[in-house]
């Protein structure tokens, strides 16, 4: 309907123009908005409000006890010129994202391919494999992880069967971050479920045609399955990258919030948390949060930009 015809019909029914459109719209939608009000209050009061406040705070020095003092770009300047821990935490987080995301996706895809072979009891296996994703970010698992990867933990007891004396994985700066990457890979459940759905949606006639042509399984995977699955891979990669940047709980619990040993597990979010709640530099922590947002946005934008070269939409 065009604007003209709306106002025309309003004129016919209402008589007085202008206000009647608004009052009629109000009559039509007011109950809806009233029902949405609780959500609006939450959205503006608890989400948008604090987000805007944190943007303001990022330009101040704020220790919670005294009023924020305007600092201009001080926080951002310090971050990029004079903060070793910012650099260290950025390096740790990048390393984590770059290794954990592809490995997790590959693992999830592998399991999804196995489950997609029409085995019996699929719902049960699907649920079992999804379980770690529900537990993985919990405090209990982080504590369990400590026990598994400690010097006299499960992993080393297993290695000892072969006469290998393993290091204390969790407390050695060379391996500690890898234990967290393994923990992240173990939570492959949600990308796996999405891959599984993606695999189901590939038209069977393509596989039939391939088998008539006598294509090998390997070739079928590379030429049909993977290209047809790229939109799902793309979706999973974006979601998991964002999750990776946000990762906090395991590192916080395993290192007692310190990023120990030698800052090897000092995730960006952990550093941000310490600045805010251990050292009470809310302004600086807010600036860190906005830089993280910018980094995630850049990564996502870059992914979208490259997607046109490797993501195939079936249309």
């Amino acid at each position: 309907m065009t604007a003209q015809s709306i106002s025309a019909s309003a004129r016919i029914k209402g008589g007085a123009v202008g206000s009647s459109i608004w009052s009629r719209a109000w009559e039509n939608h007011a109950p809806g908005y009233l029902f949405l009000l609780p959500w609006f209050i939450g959205f503006f009061g608890l989400t948008i409000g604090p987000i805007i406040t944190s943007l303001y705070l990022s330009f101040t020095h704020f220790d919670l006890l005294t009023a924020p003092r305007w600092a201009g770009l001080d926080n951002y300047i310090r971050m990029f010129t004079n903060d070793r821990n910012f650099v260290a935490s950025m390096r740790v987080t990048m390393f984590f994202v770059i290794f954990s995301v592809p490995l997790k996706l590959a693992f999830a895809l592998g399991v999804a391919l196995l489950l997609n072979r029409g085995m019996r009891g699929l719902p049960l296996y699907r649920a079992l494999f999804y379980l770690p994703s529900l537990l993985g970010a919990s405090v209990a698992i982080a504590i369990l992880w400590r026990q598994i990867f400690a010097g006299d933990g499960l992993v080393n007891q297993f290695l000892a069967l072969f006469g290998i004396v393993g290091p204390s994985w969790i407390s050695n700066p060379n391996y500690s971050l890898w234990t967290l990457i393994v923990l992240s890979i173990w939570q492959f459940g949600s990308p796996m479920i999405i891959f599984l759905a993606g695999l189901r949606s590939i038209p069977q006639d393509m596989y039939e045609a391939a088998s008539l042509e006598g294509a090998s399984k390997w070739r079928v995977f590379w030429k049909i399955t993977l290209p047809m699955l790229t939109p799902v891979v793309f979706f999973n990669a974006i979601i998991q990258t964002i999750e990776g940047f946000k990762s906090f709980t395991p590192a916080f619990i395993i290192s007692g919030g310190t990023g120990s040993p030698i800052n090897s597990t000092l995730f960006y979010t952990l550093y941000l948390y310490n600045e805010a709640f251990s050292f009470f530099r809310m302004g600086y922590a807010s600036a860190l949060a906005w830089v993280l947002l910018a980094i995630v946005a850049v990564f996502t934008a870059f992914s979208f930009f490259t997607s046109k070269f490797w993501v195939h939409y079936d249309d």
Binding site: G151, S168, P173, N274, F277
Partner: protein
Amino acid sequence: MGMSLDRRQFLLGTTALLGAAALSPAAALAQENRLRQLFWGGQARADRTNGVNALYTAASGNDVESSFLGWGDYWPKLATETAGGNSPDIVQMDYRFIVEYARRNAIAPLDEFVGSALNLSDFDADQLEGGKVDGKLYGVSLGANSVAQLVNLAAFAEAGVEPPNRDTTYDDIRAMGEAFKSKNIRGGMKVIADGSGSEPMLDNWLRQKGLALYTAEGKLGFTEAEAIEWFTLWSQMRADGVCVDAETQALDTNGPLENTMVILGKAAMMPSNSNQLVAYQTLVQDDLTITSYPRIAPGVGGGHYRKPSMFFSVGGSSSNKEAAAAYLSFFVNDPEAGKVLGVERGIPCVSAVRDVVAPMLNEKDQIALNFVANLGDLLGALPPPPPAAAGEIDVSLLRVISQEVAFGARTAEDAGKFFVTEAAAVLERGAA
């Protein structure tokens, strides 16, 4: 009636309160005389505190609404409530933060109540002094404690080594370490944890040299030379297998007591505090005790001090300051309250209360009380409260750099220089 709240009780209570408020508007008015209290600690401390609150309510008619959190959650909560102009009437305060809170008027000076609502006539002078900032009283000490080494007596007996005592020196510990090595008990238990990243142990070692971690002006109280000597001392002990290795020490993240070296069975002693003996003893079967930190040489003392383990302060925005001060007075002076509290927060600071408490203590509590009461020549003056950035220097410099040395990422020499430069920079920034 005193109240403590866990989440379920809170929800139940809130629901009940809302119900009551809906029925009678008068219910809201009853809140007026209620003191709100916030402290850090565990269930044991909460039980004792609530016991005293019940006594106080019976004696004064004022309700105390009390809630508690773990140390890590406590400070963000207190800071947030303070920022909202809604600080509790009674807050627990630590020596590390009292200056910061006092200078920002987040806690109230108590001098106007001393002698009236707040009776401190029999209060230990050094503990009273510890609660002062810029000459004004901001906190009432809830007990004295001291740094102490936690000692696993059973492990020493197994190794056939005489356990350390108040005359033990760092050199003695090296000799004990050799004996532990040759005995090889419990899969290679070392005699001592790696103390190089322990701020209290460094502080104690510096004080024996007549120096300090921080000066009264909030500057670093030592130079590169001492820092290098400190890291070298521990590097040698580590290399000789006297203290635990880097990987093992890194298991202790300064978090749960369960991850510490003595409790994990990796070392026979480690730096700790006098009031923690009881808590540690509940975690292991072996008989534990405490003794002083090692001396740097025979006959050299002055490293220890009787630290106010924690304070009660009155919130800066409290509308009920006088009642809160009266509560503090009751908390530290009343003998019955003293009996309920025991030495859980430290040794009572009023001698009459000490006399009532001493006979009813169990063996481990007795050890703690005697240790703090009989420091003798080990005792030095109370150092000034640390600068605001001290926590950051401890967490993000001392502990990290000590690990860098332990894992071989830095030499002791380099670490000493780096630590002093970086700490000075952090202090500089904190002052700005």
